[in-house]
Symmetry: C2
Subunit: 226 residues, 2 copies
Amino acid sequence: MTARRPESEPPTDAAAARPVERTRDADRTRAEILAVATAEFADRGYAGARVNEIAEKLSTTKRMIYYYFGGKEQLYVAVLEQAYGRIRALEQQVDVEHLEPVAAIRELAGLTFDHHEAHPEFIRLVSIENIHRAEHLAGSPALAGLAAPAVDVLAAILQRGRAEGVFRDDVDALDVHQVISAFCVFRTANRHTFRVIFDRDMLDPATRDHQRRLLGDLVVAHLTTR
Amino acid sequence: MTARRPESEPPTDAAAARPVERTRDADRTRAEILAVATAEFADRGYAGARVNEIAEKLSTTKRMIYYYFGGKEQLYVAVLEQAYGRIRALEQQVDVEHLEPVAAIRELAGLTFDHHEAHPEFIRLVSIENIHRAEHLAGSPALAGLAAPAVDVLAAILQRGRAEGVFRDDVDALDVHQVISAFCVFRTANRHTFRVIFDRDMLDPATRDHQRRLLGDLVVAHLTTR
DNA sequence: CCTCTTATGTACCAAGTGGTGAGTTGTGGA
DNA sequence: TCCACAACTCACCACTTGGTACATAAGAGG
């Protein structure tokens, strides 16, 4: 093998390449391609993104895309896998075990809210992948156990809430997750058409707290109403 | 041989389908192009759709696309305008004035639910347009008053509910609309990735009633909780 | 019947598309 | 030191893309 930089994968390594230090580094080149491709695919969709365009924004050449990834589609799949991988990593850091059920639900919903707001390009990739009926995602093995964290944590909270008698006992954890996701994803994914039609920017910082509270209220009300 | 096939007319056509077989009919040609283009753009996105592909599925030629619409982008805008126009027409048929507030909200949410489920290709177009940051929609005048119906009806219901003391008095109509839309749009728009990740088909007919009730419960709980 | 406008069909193109053949150079290990 | 191979560059291509020049046929009106 070749020069392995000790840098053990700083994930958000963007195209911040030093122009002077132009050494050979497979990991760095690969990461740069992925970063640029992620931005490009998220920006224009799979069909809209151009390999040539990605190449031009690289400090290396188009040939390297094919050298490392094989083709446009494989590059796109790699982008998806990396994006989902990062999301999983973040979700696993959730720790709400010490909170009482209602507070825990609010916290979990709030974290999901923050998280989606902080990663609009991920939401875009998800939207794009849905346009393609998740056909690339379906063939990828990189999403094993991707569902578990979020839903497991949620199920545990619901269980505690039921035991304490504060939550209804007929609510499914995945239903709750679906509701939370729907709210959070919609805000980002449908931001533009919603703004044009209803003249409201759902991501306006001025209404952020209100929206965040709205989500919490919504879920808690549902869980505590009989 | 100029005999036109007696049109296997896709669902809702714009041009009055006269039984008379006309060899030349601008309205019909235009409508056919729009119908095929709608299917194609919804299926593959703006960049993914091919003018040649649309042309091949036509009983006329590619030249007609440019004759009637000018180009790919203008055709796409026309598709968007027609789609939104139809949606508006449907929304204006909502009549829940005679119901008591809680039932009215449930009915409105349920109608929205049904409506989104019945028009997946519209949801796809909306997703696609969001990928393009609604830039085509923004420049189109065809959406004046598109927001009014849904939100006005909702506001009236909330008003009555407040007057009768069954609803909270601090809930914004557009917030409620946003929540309902989020739930309904998410089900269709994110169906595929959600199925792959969470192994649940949100559009599975077997869980349709449950999902529909869930949305009603969610909104009513929020409106009636203090 | 003739003519003029509208509607339609055929053949074609320049620019861009994803993708590659083949050679060049840096670098770690023997 | 030197070599083998990974990392990289550059020029190139077959094919598709959106778009168009031009010929022509069908009706409406006179």
